[in-house]
């Protein structure tokens, strides 16, 4: 009896190891591909896939597994620019870099904070061709997945109206280093989709929406800019809504506004986490806010 248990255990372990090494091998392969492609410019990429790459394969999510939570306080070895001016956007949006002027022809105006597997950006891309959209994600492997996904999409749709040159992902801690990436009033939309709930009272400061972080978001958002929030955790919904409502630089948008807004519709269904909620027949709670002008100082 115990022998059998032992055996299956051992087997399980082997299988686990095998799966882990498969995932690693897959990611290594993608790594090489990514490195080869990442710095390739838009035009070069088109040449590389003349037949608009019908055989371009999208990366598979199951090879990029990672622990569900990460600690936003800890000091990961993160790479971030010293100032927003030092940020090399050309690397992320090669399609919008003007070789002649050495400048970007359009800038990041939409940010998906904690973008996870990137579904929201993919769905937003065709709706905002004139804005670059940036996903920020703290988990390495998840970020790599999104990178590979975008690379594949760009190759696959190189000839299409929406060629996904306007979306990109960046590994970073949005709670700590947002001001290193964005200038004052650079953004017009910020999305917070299904953020980690951090249930325990003690951990509430780890939440991505707190009254003090909201001041930073207000700094990078322009007047009239929108903060979108959606979650399946009612408690968290109330918490986010409360903090945004209490913050002097934000005002709540009403149901009528939500119903006519295109992004609300997209956000409701686009993200991987949102789809999971659908599968489990959970509810989704939305709250949107407008950045109002600074008061007299």
């Amino acid at each position: 009896m115990s022998d059998v248990v032992e055996n299956t255990k051992e087997q399980q372990l082997l299988e686990l190891k095998d799966a882990a090494s498969k995932r690693l091998a897959y990611r290594n392969e993608q790594d090489t591909k990514r490195k080869a492609l990442k710095h390739a410019r838009f035009e070069e990429m088109r040449e590389a896939t003349p037949e608009s790459g019908a055989e371009v394969e999208l990366p598979r999510k199951r090879f990029y597994r990672q622990r569900a939570h990460s600690n936003p306080f800890s000091d990961h070895k993160l790479d971030y620019p010293k100032t927003p001016e030092d940020m090399n956007w050309k690397k992320l949006y090669p399609g919008f870099y003007d070789e002649k002027t050495g400048k970007m022809t359009q800038n990041v105006e939409i940010a998906d904070i904690g973008c996870g597997f990137g579904g929201l950006m993919v769905d937003l891309a065709p709706h905002f061709p004139e804005s670059n959209i940036l996903g920020m994600e703290i988990r390495v492997q998840v970020t790599q997945y999104v990178e590979d996904r975008i690379t594949a999409l760009r190759r696959k749709h190189a000839e299409d109206a929406c060629n996904f040159q306007n979306i990109a992902v960046l590994r970073g801690n949005a709670m700590k280093f947002l001001p290193n990436f964005f200038q004052k009033a650079q953004l017009k939309k910020m999305f917070f989709c299904f953020p980690d709930p951090h249930f325990k009272q003690r951990k509430h400061k780890a939440r991505i929406i707190t009254n003090t972080l909201l001041s930073e978001y207000a700094y990078v958002l322009r007047e009239g800019g929108i903060v979108y929030t959606i979650t399946d955790v009612f408690d968290l919904h109330q918490w986010m809504a409360k903090h945004l409502e209490e913050h002097p630089l934000f005002e709540r948008l009403d149901k009528a506004w939500e119903e006519q807004d295109e992004c609300v519709k997209i956000m409701y269904n686009a993200t991987e986490e949102g789809q999971k909620v659908d599968r489990n027949q959970g509810s989704k709670f939305i709250a949107c806010f407008r950045r109002i002008p600074n008061p007299e100082l």
Partner: protein, 446 residues
């Protein structure tokens, strides 16, 4: 043996020295060396733990009571099992974790002392109950320190500034939050009802400065990452800008009184930054490298702890770098000078700060013992706290001009040391005196 002073702060006139050693605050007259004020933190450092413990026990008791009720209800609902004994787990009273023999000692000391601009209040921090303590100063009393407010915080306070009118204390804590705490309002007992922070970083706050420019008020905050932020005050939810330039933690910010648009910052970098903090863009005016100045005064103490060494470094120790931490920069207002202390060294570097923000070298002063801290008064007199085991705890210097500094032979300084009541039996009992270098962030897998 006298415990060295961990903090010293002089008033503008230089008549008084406010000092701390362990959990004692002592105020001395610089004319006579006499103690004119004192305060001891009598709150047991175990107090907060005991409170927590009590809460836990209460919660357990409540749970226990509920368990019994439930078990009784269940028994009542099942008549067949009537005779069965009702079994409920007894409560186990949790123990207060007492440090074992190998555990690091718990230190209880004053980490910050701040004088309000009008010198009406002395404000400090406690470790024991993580409080801000505010004293009204009255030198006509036997003890010039009258505690007017003691406000506990959820997280340990570690930086203090005050508003221009001295009515509000702006306090930064270990988790990066900044609170506005009134002097005259009663202390809030239940921390759940404590007002929200006025601003926050997601990193330990290392310094807070209040500033005024063009009739508008600001609060400047620095943290353990490399961020320096300028926010409006009291509407601190409106951020004016970040000042980018540091690569390591920032330990202090200084706005010189003769150039209120200038800001000098320093910390874990081997350079000092000089800014125009009021400008919309191009704030950084100068970076001044202190590397060559400081290196000759560093020792093996300044090498990273062994667990952070790379394999190559462990194999060849000559690869290990001595790390520079600027612990403090103060201004000599009268002669528009800066004085810089690198942590755990026996040197002070005097620098010039020109009107255009450029920093240049002036001279180096050295002492016989390592310097713990220092303070400068409005008459260009500088008080230097020494890490000394033979009772010589203070040196005094007088700036005679922008280029001429004289060390004074002062018997009152020795008198002050002799009058201090904070004693230890042996050198080992002296509290750790250098804390800034520990702010350096390290990665164990570099």
């Amino acid at each position: 043996m006298k415990h060295p002073f961990q903090l010293i702060l002089s008033d503008k006139s230089g008549e008084h020295l406010f000092t701390s050693a362990k959990h004692h605050i002592q105020v001395f007259s610089t004319a006579t060396g006499a103690i004119v004020g004192s305060w001891v933190d009598t709150v047991d450092i175990m107090e907060p733990l005991k409170k927590q413990q009590l809460k836990k026990i209460r919660a357990l008791e409540a749970q226990h009571a509920r368990d019994i009720k439930e078990a009784e209800a269940a028994a009542a609902a099942e008549p067949d099992a009537k005779k069965q004994k009702i079994e409920v787990k007894p409560i186990r009273i949790p123990k207060i974790p007492t440090p074992g023999p190998g555990a690091p000692p718990v230190y209880n000391f004053i980490r910050v002392l701040h004088l309000t601009a009008d010198e009406k209040y002395l404000v400090g921090t406690t470790d024991s109950d993580k409080a801000i303590i505010m004293f009204e100063l009255d030198f006509s009393q036997d003890n010039c320190l009258r505690l007017v407010k003691r406000q506990c915080l959820a997280k340990r306070p570690c930086a203090i500034a005050s508003s221009e009118d001295s009515s509000q204390m702006i306090v930064g804590d270990k988790f990066g939050d900044v609170y506005n705490i009134g002097v005259t309002t009663p202390a809030v007992e239940d921390l759940k009802t404590f007002p929200q922070p006025i601003l926050g970083h997601v990193s330990m706050l290392s310094d807070v400065v209040y500033a005024k420019h063009d009739g508008k008020e600001y609060v400047l905050t620095a943290d353990r990452d490399e961020h320096v932020r300028v926010s409006h005050f009291p509407k601190s939810y409106v951020i004016k800008k970040w000042l980018f330039g540091h690569k390591e933690f920032v330990t202090n910010m200084l706005i010189p009184s003769w150039a209120p648009e200038r800001l000098v910052t320093s910390g874990g970098d081997d350079f000092i930054c000089s800014w125009d903090w009021t400008a919309e863009t191009n704030n950084l005016l100068d970076t001044f490298s202190v590397r060559d100045l400081v290196l000759p005064f560093l020792s093996d103490y300044h090498i990273a702890p062994e667990r952070f060494w790379t394999e190559e470094e462990a194999a060849d120790r000559s690869l290990l770098e001595r790390e520079i931490t600027i612990q403090k920069i103060l201004a000599v207002e009268k002669y528009k000078l800066l004085v810089v202390l690198a942590e755990n060294t026996n040197a002070l570097f005097v620098l010039n700060l020109a009107d255009d923000g450029k920093i240049t070298y002036n001279q180096t002063l050295t002492t016989d013992s390592q310097i713990i801290t220092f303070s400068v008064d409005a008459n260009a007199r500088m008080y230097v706290g020494l890490d000394n085991k033979d009772g010589h705890l203070l040196d005094v210097y007088q700036f005679q001009s922008a280029s001429d500094v004289e060390k004074l032979a002062s018997t009152t300084m020795d008198q002050i040391a002799a009058n201090s009541v904070v004693e230890v039996e042996k050198a080992d009992d002296i509290y750790p005196l250098y804390h800034a270098a520990a702010l350096r962030k390290r990665s164990e897998f570099s």
